[in-house]
Symmetry: D2
Subunit: 369 residues, 4 copies
């Protein structure tokens, strides 16, 4: 233990009334944000910062009230008692650290992507399930007020059946050393789609098309198409080379269509009460085909959204799912579903865009959603 | 001949000094626009309106100075002398009417799509070529001030090498009885891409993904991906079901990136002087891969565009190509190149998005570009 | 009578069942638009076009079914029977033509501004009132779907009490030979404010500030401030020299605030359910002053507007007010109220911006609203 | 002295090579921002935080490296050596604190407004001038990359002669307890106008119109008009009651017009190469009046702006003006010029909008700009 202000090793288990004791693993880019939000949460207690580079960890720990700093999970678990860990280290290390924590009986929050592959991710999910511990994916975008509102609107049936989802996330972005533009940017869109659809993200197959016009060795421009229930389709466009920035998701429904434009702070969500009208009787596809289609031009509505930090709500959900003993809303399985699509996308890309089947793990792990 | 004010049959051939005598075939939706522009053109003389429904034709002919009206091409050719015809009838009739006119020695302008299939289209191209007549595709969008400016900027090298093209054309649109959303909307994007790229539209293959979530029997949502030279890629998104209207084409280049937003009349084109910087030496892909990439944040520039009607410029080009004996800038072959991609897209769609090869007719008809 | 197709002089009076027989006076810029809309109206019959320049009148009359053309009101009234005239001649001639028509027992519609001065305008209003004839001001903007919706929302109390109105109408505009920017552009804003406020446009005084930085001899940039009921204020900014075009009216209310942006066709009106909250008890100003103020951040709502041509609705209202024997919604008095403000603005401008009182004619002509 | 880590009283004077030792006075809303920027500046050393509420001061001082904290200027000057103070206390205390510091031989930076009245402000300016000390107004907006660019463009003649300036700053804002909307918001616009115009802000008179429709006891909606050189005019619209937020300044020039829209981060400045064309010969106003005016529709250009924090540049300017012994670019006199207009505006408001003369102090203090 590096800090001399930390508590001694305790065997006392957490009880529902006490705040959740959480250690943040990783003091790089994302860890400090997590640490700040655990510190600010009334449900949690920031118990420690863990990083091999303890100087870096101390720099994070200082302004947060000189929380204790450890150089490894072993030392953390040996010296103080925590209930959970939040892992914000490079993706390739998630698997090892998460298993270590789960085996020590700790709940685990993992930065996206859940793991470097779905196979490793599944081991994490199984380890958590077998011990009755929470494994949560840090899909931060799902906890933005916009995504929470969209989930609510869809679940209340305000959009009707989903007809299409189109998501564009393009910007001048750093070409990443280890991942292509799909693995870098699409997890945001995929995790949100998983979050807002009642059935989650479960396409049968995906097709990915990409380009590497600068010869960087990986796709810098990418298009991902996959099926949604009821013959609907989703498409995601990610691009590192666009000097014009777009972050827009259009969700077309039989009743209304929603546009989420994340770059318009005062009106992020617009709901268009416009669309196709069928006569009520014609519920079957055959009937629809046979008859004329008319259009409906209704009002546009933009719900007020609270100005809440997504990360704060994510931390609250982590604590709540632990205390209530229920899967979190972005569970480990949600992380797996995102990995399933990314892996299939990579296979499709290798095969020149051929439709590639998406793994399904639903049967194996019932009840973990 | 229906109108009694028309001139008698004349054998006098057109000479370069006299205006081009043009008959418009079809008095439905598009024909009246063509007729109005031929009437207004100083290079042309609107000689007749032809339509089986002569009442409809008379309605168009009246306000344009009571030009003669005919019920068929046979009657037209039998009674008056024209130099050219402009065909604005349903696509399935283009082939027959164009061949009839070409065989009568007339130059032909054809509304998009050139023909119902590339095979039929090729017969038209060959018929025109063998007689030394002009066959021009009415790719109107290519003659908008925006498209003309983009063509000029690309050809002058202002954008550098093209890295990607992304075109979105979505709106609440009428589900067409005979064609899907690809054939209805994508010809606009495809013809523009053919027009602005120095080498024209010549992908090796395309992949198409579509959805018919309303069960109309045809794709209402569509995504089209294809390769561009130098490992670049193009993508076109067309959609009939979107209540939010987008008509935007992003053209990313190594030097600059251009955004064409057709719904912002005062600033349709924005040129971003931002992008990726490489060291000058590293021209090979291998070198690019090895070295760090940096970004350049430069000015944005929006060229002033004249407020000229595209159709008027198109008519001028038709007359000019005839008088100068050169292929028009949107030649029959340009129409064929668009058909090639559309047919490959339809095949890909049938095969669930499998990449489908695009026919190439370049060898057979050199010099007709 | 110039045309030989006109009917002979008839004494038959118009009855409620027959369409209103209307002659359009003036075949310049605006007259043809009026003529086209009277022609299209089921309530009206376009009986004649009158213009000293009969060639110009014939050009308008031709495509509208060769309606008769006259060179003067005298000839019109001498030769055919009409129920009403619509005057679209230069402002300085409105007074003479309107009086001539009213004395002949015709209802009169007058293009804005009603007259060259409020004194002349009042003579017109009085002449119409004394004969029980309709005098209507062609305040076209009031009949746009946007203005009609705003009037409805305000009258239903959706905005609460009005707190402020801010209207901006700036553009690169032609410097007019005879009027300054206030008289050229502000009538649009003033007539709309008169139309949407339940009490109409009745400020006690106005202050006008203008600039003529190019030395054209008249104000090219103008700002107009005046009081509204309940200590609210209105401000109008008009400008001929701005290359950026803005047409925006913000109407702040105690309950909601409405923004009319006329350059955003798909969302012209936005209603913000945001504002100041007071405790219910504090209805008096003294109480408001004493207590803290809080803010309410609610939804934004954009009502769907029909795509109806304003001029068509204006023509319908003219016919309806005649048939129903009631003042039209933009009556002669509405035109006077606009003139009152413009004249006071001119006086203020001469006095360097000093607040100038606005004439009030309300007492003299009760019941004419 | 409250902190025990501060240095002892030192008599060593600052020399040009050493960083400027600065104490921040006031640990409320703005002081921490100043402190953070002085801390980060390579030119300065943050020597102390001063606040009567030392607990509040310690909270600011802690994360900035535990800089010493003092409860008063007396204690500050008694215990440590500083070169300058930055005053971020309520406006009514600026005068007393600034004089105290100037009398102690310290350079002074003062948050806007410079003082509660121009009379008090002038005493500060005179006190600084007589001692050869720098008095700088913290007109932060002037140091935004946008304002710096606009100043540069105007001074290089890119806009030509200024024809009009229109500034709108409206938002849902807290009704302030002590000042009206003019004093709260207009200083931003006025200080920028003073900064960008070569001659500074020197109108002869201003007219102010305001409204207090909620009965808060002070204007919540305000319009300010004043003259600019060469018959141009400026107008500022400030409003606390508008739920739609606008921060836009339009600067019309004879050559180009610039629009600064501060809410569009990616394109804050647009320069329109559009405007009025005169024939070259007609340079006199009389000639302009006589001849026709034509329009020029040129390109739009949006310069790239660095993403620099304004406050950092302001701090740099404070240090530079001290080291170079020259007035800062937002000198005390700039603060006076803003106060001159605000005081005249208040007088105008009391007189119902009557034009009120603006005080001029230029003669008295030559050389202080």
């Amino acid at each position: 233990m590096v800090s001399n202000s930390g508590p001694l090793h305790q065997e006392t288990p957490a009880d529902a009334g006490a705040p959740l004791r959480v250690a943040v693993i990783g003091a790089g880019y994302w860890g400090p944000n997590l640490a700040r939000n655990f510190k600010a949460s009334p449900d949690c207690e920031l118990s420690a910062i863990v990083d091999q580079d303890t100087a870096r960890a101390l720099k994070v720990a200082g302004p947060l009230g000189d929380v204790p700093v450890f150089e490894s999970l072993e030392r953390l678990f040996a010296e103080i008692e925590v209930d959970a860990v939040a892992i914000a280290t490079p993706a390739r290390t998630h698997h090892l650290l998460a298993l270590q924590a789960l085996e020590a009986g700790k709940h685990v929050l993992v930065e996206k992507p859940l793991a470097a592959s779905r196979e490793l991710g599944m081991q994490m999910v199984e380890a958590a399930a077998s011990r009755g511990l929470i494994l949560m994916a840090d899909h931060t975008y799902c906890y933005t007020p916009a995504a929470l509102k969209i989930r609510e609107l869809i679940q209340e049936g305000e959009l009707g059946e989903i007809l299409f989802i189109d998501s564009v996330r393009i910007n001048l972005g750093l070409v990443q050393p280890d991942v292509d533009v799909f693995w870098d940017l699409a997890p945001h869109d995929l995790s949100v789609i998983d979050f807002i659809l009642p059935g989650g993200l479960r396409p049968e197959s995906v097709a990915a098309h990409g380009a590497d016009p600068l010869g960087t060795g990986k796709a810098c421009v990418g298009h991902l198409s996959f099926d949604l229930p009821n013959n609907a389709m989703a498409h995601i466009n990610v691009n590192w080379l666009s000097p014009t920035k777009i972050r827009q998701m259009i969700i077309g429904g039989t009743k209304r269509t929603l546009v989420w434009d994340d770059l318009v702070p005062q009106q992020r969500i617009s709901v268009y009460d416009r669309g196709i009208n069928f006569q009520k009787a014609s519920t079957s596809a055959a009937q629809r085909k046979a008859q004329a289609i008319s259009y409906r031009m209704g009002d546009t509505w933009s719900p007020a959204l609270p100005e809440t930090e997504a990360l704060g709500l994510m931390v609250t959900e982590f604590a709540a799912s632990i205390l209530q003993g229920r899967p979190s809303r972005t569970s480990g399985m949600a992380g797996i579903r995102v990995l399933n699509v990314l892996e299939a996308a990579s296979r499709s890309l290798e095969l020149g865009g051929e439709r590639s089947f998406v793994a399904s793990n639903d049967v194996q792990l019932e009840g973990t959603r």
